[in-house]
């Protein structure tokens, strides 16, 4: 991509191929995400958005290509990455409090069999305050709404104090007011020079939330500054023109051009 001049991008992926039982899920993914950007990963169901995130986190093995984080191996930079998994990935009946979950964000900095102490608890409280859940810290996690659970995961990632955040659908099941609050928070994080990569599937809001967009459908259909990529042609290519919502957006974009 021409617009990326930075020499050591926050995340660089080269010729990545990922397959599940010999079926390719992602192929030829080749991107470089500069530091300090907020990237929306957009694409239809089954496009491999979550797989991409999981591959970068080292949770899914890749058969070809490489991933570099701040110019280095995942192993060396894993502590610089914060991860927000999908909300459905855990059992919310698990006997832990909101505080316990947020404290998990600090576990990476602790050695084997060291317990989180006051320093970690302060960090976790601060993160909870940022997402507006400080009053809920002692509550069992199943007694929260979907949006609150999502914010618990966000707070846990904040407690990680990372430079690169990977978020898998942080807006799923979140009400409109919370979504606005989360977006504001993400922008604040970006403004501190951190990099965010967010899987998002609401096309209507993707354009206003993100500086950069990665259009994904098993391969990279388009990647770059939002204004360069978010156009009817590339969206049509990504979604194959299947969604009615898509044509509405395409119409809107076409009208704006006129």
């Amino acid at each position: 991509m021409a617009e990326i001049i930075d020499n050591s991008p926050a995340l660089e992926i080269h010729d990545l191929i990922v397959s599940y039982q010999k079926k390719p899920v992602l192929y030829g993914v080749d991107i470089a995400i500069p530091e300090g950007s907020m990237v929306g990963v957009v694409g239809p169901n089954g496009a491999g958005k979550s797989t991409l995130i999981k591959t970068v986190m080292g949770l899914v093995p890749h058969s070809h290509g490489w991933v570099k984080i701040f110019g280095g191996d995942l192993k060396n930079s894993i502590k610089r990455i914060g991860y927000v998994p999908q909300r459905e990935s855990v059992d919310w009946d698990f006997p832990v409090s909101v505080m316990d979950v947020v404290l998990m964000g600090c576990y990476g900095g602790l050695g084997l069999h060291r317990r989180p102490g006051k320093k970690e608890k302060d960090k976790a409280s601060e993160a909870l305050e940022k997402v507006g859940l400080e009053a809920y810290s002692k509550r069992q996690i199943s007694n929260l709404s979907g949006g609150q659970q999502q914010r618990v995961f966000l707070a846990r990632a904040l407690a990680q104090e990372s430079d690169l955040y990977l978020m898998d659908e942080p807006f799923a099941g979140v009400d409109a007011a919370t979504e606005v609050a989360i977006v504001e928070l993400l922008c604040q994080i970006r403004d501190q020079g951190k990099t965010l990569i967010v899987v998002h599937h609401d096309l209507a809001t993707a354009r206003e939330y993100f500086d950069m967009i990665l259009l994904l459908n098993m391969r990279v259909v388009g990647f770059g500054k939002t204004e360069n990529v978010f156009n009817a042609e590339l969206l049509q290519k990504t979604y194959g023109g299947r969604l009615t919502a898509l044509s509405e957006i395409a119409d809107k974009l076409a009208r704006e051009k006129i």
Partner: protein, 308 residues
Amino acid sequence: MSFNQIFVEPWVSHFSAYWPILVMAFFVTAACGLIGNYLVLRKISLVGDAISHSVLPGIAIAYMIAGSRSDLAMFIGALIAGIFTTLIIELIHSRSKIKKDAAIGITFTTMFAVGVILVSLYGADTDLDLDCVLFGKLDFMASKEKVFFGLPQIVLTMGFILILIILLIVLFYKELLISSFDPSFAATLGIKPRLVHYCLMCSLSVVVVSAFSSVGAILVIAMLILPAATVYLLTDRLWLMMILSILHAFLSSIIGLHLTVALKVSTAPACVVAGMFLFILSWIISPRYGLLRYLSSSFDLSTFQKEN
């Protein structure tokens, strides 16, 4: 039978006979219960089932190799069999489209079948007895030679294993917690969930192998799952689950012992029945998840009240 005979005499006139049985029952249920908490939370309760059954071929083969009934050989044999079983389950589950429950089902029954064949082929000249394998011999505890505080060696070994399990849980509380709750997130922090899983399976094998000879292959499953299931209904905090499951172990062994005296039956099943009684009790009266909650009020307003 009078109250006196059931509740007083075991403590007064037959103390030396019942004391080792009670202590052994408590050590076994407590150790099993602690590990069982993690099995229930990770939704792999049946793996305990699998390991307890696969112990049989392990000790049979260990006997054939060692040529004697040495405790150490049996222990190692059973441990290897237990770990082998978890590996086979993982292998079938991850390398085919068979789901985990079916993988567990076929693995442990086959292991047990192999064990039964081995015992019936070579069992005549060993002391391996299928009754003992299935039901344990907790009640023979009293006839063993006493070494310490009126307790035989095997009870002391079990006590040592209980302490070991408590130590491991205290030391690796954080690793066990995060890898049970969110294994992917744990992996991104550099805590290896697979390693934690195999360590947990090893500890499970150790506990099951040592509990096996006293409560048998089937009742040990109850000891693993009942305490965890009971306390899971009572609290929302993992550390409190741990403490309450030890309390559950303590109560079920005491109630079980009195049941044994009253009905003149064997102790291990009596403890399981007592444990089940405690489970039903907590199911009914649990403050947050109990059945009584449905009767007392039709709406749970606590969530709303807490918000203000």
